[in-house]
């Protein structure tokens, strides 16, 4: 197995680890940092793939992702947290250990699903698809379990990370146009979320969705 494949597998493992960490983390600031780390790993893996397959447009993609997910979005989120003063995520519906077990089950399932695909992938780093899928599941789970708007959005962003990871690892990335479009959507999404979170805060004086949802019709 060529060295850079090992590197990529390594990064993939890290990626998954971070996903797990996010699932268990309740302090929002740490959550954001973890998100940034995940973004970093993503950027790295993209550039490695670019190096390994000599596709220069992937460098651009790596740079774009790095810029977006390590700098821009985390900064925005941090500012948001500071202004809205939400430090902690209240205890989620399900206890952390249970969540961990669920996550484990999902990971196994993800590998089970992606195994046949990995078999017939002609790309070098085919095992990583399972990782990507697993991390997608985990982020989805996070979205389900978290009760503040902000951590839900972070879950959403992590989900999107997983998607990009899948794209790069199995298909050497989409064409540049698409990558740009996706990146654009992400940034717009975050901005819109910013707008909303202010209004939600104003209306319910909390970002805890349970306050919003308790309102009866």
């Amino acid at each position: 197995m060529p060295p850079f494949t090992q590197v990529i597998n390594m990064l993939a493992a890290l990626f998954l680890l971070v996903a797990f960490a996010m699932l268990s983390q309740r302090r929002i600031v740490n959550l954001i940092n973890l998100y940034a780390i995940q973004g970093l790993i993503l950027a790295l893996s993209i550039s490695v793939v670019a190096y390994g397959t000599h596709q220069n447009h992937l460098y651009w993609s790596a740079a774009l992702n790095g810029l977006l997910k390590v700098c821009v979005v985390p900064v925005l989120l941090h500012r948001l947290v500071r202004t809205l003063k939400v430090a902690w995520d209240p205890e989620s519906l399900v206890r952390i250990p249970t969540v961990m077990l669920l996550g484990l089950a999902l990971v196994i399932f993800a590998f089970h699903v992606s195994l046949p695909i990995a078999g017939l992938a002609r790309t070098v780093n085919h095992d990583t698809l399972g990782v990507a899928l697993a991390s997608i599941f985990l982020s989805f789970l996070m979205m389900i379990l978290r009760t503040t708007a902000i951590s839900q959005v972070i879950g959403f962003l992590a989900l999107e990370n997983g998607l990009i990871f899948a794209a790069t690892s199995v298909t050497y990335g989409m064409p540049m146009v698409i990558e740009l479009g996706i990146a654009l959507d992400v940034i717009v999404g975050v901005l819109i979320f910013g707008v909303f979170s202010f209004h939600i805060r104003a209306q319910f004086d909390s970002l805890d969705l349970r306050h919003m949802e308790r309102r009866d019709e």
């Binding site: 699903v113 046949p116 695909i117 017939l120 992938a121 002609r122 899928l133 997608i136 989805f140 979205m143 708007a149 839900q152 959403f156 989900l159 999107e160 998607l163 899948a166 794209a167 199995v170 298909t171 050497y172 989409m174 064409p175 146009v177 698409i178 479009g181 996706i182 654009l184 959507d185 717009v188 999404g189 819109i192 979320f193 707008v195 909303f196 209004h199 939600i200 209306q203 319910f204 969705l209 919003m212 949802e213 309102r215 019709e217």
Partner: protein
């Protein structure tokens, strides 16, 4: 290449968005809005003309393509956005007078209105499944703002629901798209692998397993936007809490566009799998949606919520029909999409006015509409009769065809279909009857409501029930053939 001008179909609304982003707060914004939609529909007409004479064609390399399947959807979209623009001129003016629409919001509203139509037209015309995804995501984001326009707790909650649910759904759709690309790019190479036409050409060689997984992600993803049960829960809130013109285009157009996306991938998937289970999957989703929606109708009190559930029901029917496949069913589904979006938007026009007049959306507080506002009353009554599939309106024709096709291809499903139709009929008609008949509780409309759009739509639906123009028939038939089984 000559037909580059038709890119105007997407450029015009984009320009409109930019322009209104600046001037949106003026009184003239309403007019400008209409102007741009008018331009869009002019371009659409020109394009239609071209298709009729030159047949389907590509633009910008292979990035855009126009064929009988999407041309009528493009026309429909252009037309409904136009009529809705007219409606929103009258409607939002009143909203502005009541102060619910301050200048800032008006700016957002108009800009997003144009942006929304841009994304929809882009999604319809693009040949690139990546771009399709981006357009759908864009549609989500732009409408999220529109749904939350009024900033009331309810509207914020609705918008948030919409944002999160559709966002997650769309993300899944992206994964599905990636998988599809992954399945294809070894055959077609990195760039062509995203072009639907190319994919369609090689669909039989795609790896069945990957295609299957991809389709699962895609139907769950885009299905969320179609409003298929159980991913439908954003839909009623979004329709009920957003401004009425937005409800109209959500129900009338966005759902169609999403369904259009699903169908496109269904073609690929069923081609790759060499068997019918993508179709079966759609039939299952469609039937479930129809039944659940029909039974949920009975307990609604909010008029816009009621009709949004009926949208779920009808989308379910169309999905079911597409799932069945075959020329007749596809034909029926296409017809159903068309007439449903016309009828439903017309209903939202009238019910919006009704809600505005009576100051509430609670149907139990409305009655005797025919007494003092016969115009609204009749449009609402006829609209609901149309939506319930009562002849001579077009939905009768489409439902008639769907049922007959179902008898032919999936007899087991017919009892469920009939059950759904009957329950929906009972639920909706009982409520509408209570609104239009009886002694009047609703004050007379002072400013004349703009019901011309509503009646124009109804007239078209009526026409389609009695007589379908040959050209439309030709398109439908071609499209049905295009979609195959």
């Amino acid at each position: 290449m000559s037909n580059m001008i038709f890119l105007g179909i997407v450029i015009v609304p984009l320009a409109g968005a930019a322009c209104l982003g600046v001037l949106g707060d003026r009184e003239a914004a309403f007019g400008i809005n209409i102007l741009f939609t008018l331009l869009t529909s002019l371009v659409a007409m020109a394009m239609t003309w071209h298709v009729i004479h030159a047949g389907s064609f590509f633009m910008a390399g292979l990035q855009f393509f126009i064929n009988p399947f999407n041309i009528f959807l493009v026309d429909l979209t252009a037309f409904v956005t136009l009529t809705t623009a007219f409606f929103s001129r009258a409607y939002m003016r009143i909203e502005r007078h009541t102060g619910r629409l301050n200048p800032a919001r008006s700016k957002i509203y108009h800009a997003m209105y144009q942006l929304f139509s841009f994304t929809m037209l882009l999604a319809l015309t693009t040949n690139n499944i990546g771009t399709l995804w981006i357009a759908m995501e864009g549609a989500t984001l732009s409408t999220a703002l529109l749904v939350g326009l009024y900033r009331t707790p309810a509207s914020l909650e609705a918008a948030w629901k919409y944002f999160i649910l559709c966002g997650a759904g769309i993300a899944l759709a992206l994964f599905g798209t990636i998988m599809m690309y992954f399945a294809a790019h070894t055959l077609l190479g990195p760039y062509a692998g995203l072009l639907w036409t190319r994919l369609d050409a090689v669909k039989t060689q795609l790896d069945p397993y990957i295609a299957g997984i991809a389709f699962v992600f895609l139907i769950v993803g885009y299905g969320t936007k179609v409003g298929l049960v159980p991913m439908h829960n954003w839909l009623p809130d979004a329709h009920a809490e957003g401004p009425t013109p937005i409800s109209a285009i959500l129900s009338g157009l966005l759902l169609n566009v999403a369904l259009y996306a699903v169908v496109r991938f269904k073609v690929l998937a069923s081609g790759a799998l060499h068997d019918h289970w993508p179709g079966a999957l759609m039939m299952g989703f469609g039937l479930t949606s129809t039944l659940v929606a029909a039974f949920s109708l009975a307990r609604q009190r909010d008029i816009k919520r009621l009709f949004s559930y009926s949208s779920i029901e009808h989308m379910g029917l169309a999905t079911f029909a597409f799932g069945m496949g075959g020329p007749l069913a596809n034909f029926a589904a296409l017809l159903h999409m068309t007439v449903h979006s016309l009828a439903k938007s017309s209903i939202f026009f009238s019910s919006g006015h009704v809600a505005q007049k009576s100051g509430t959306q609670d149907m139990t507080k409305m009655s005797g509409l025919l007494e003092r506002n016969p115009g609204m009353g009749w449009s609402l009554l006829l609209g609901s009769l149309a939506i319930l599939g009562v002849p001579p309106f077009g939905l009768f024709a489409s439902e008639f065809l769907i049922v007959t096709a179902a008898i032919h291809q999936a007899p087991w499903s017919v009892p469920f279909l009939i059950l759904g139709l009957v329950v929906a009929f009972a639920a909706i008609f009982q409520k509408v009857q209570g609104i239009v008949f009886g002694a009047s509780q609703i004050p007379k409309a002072l400013s004349p409501p703009s019901l011309i759009p509503a009646f124009v739509h109804l007239a078209l639906v009526l026409l389609l029930g009695l007589y379908i123009p040959p050209i439309l028939t030709a398109w439908y038939t071609d499209a049905a053939r295009l979609l195959g089984v």
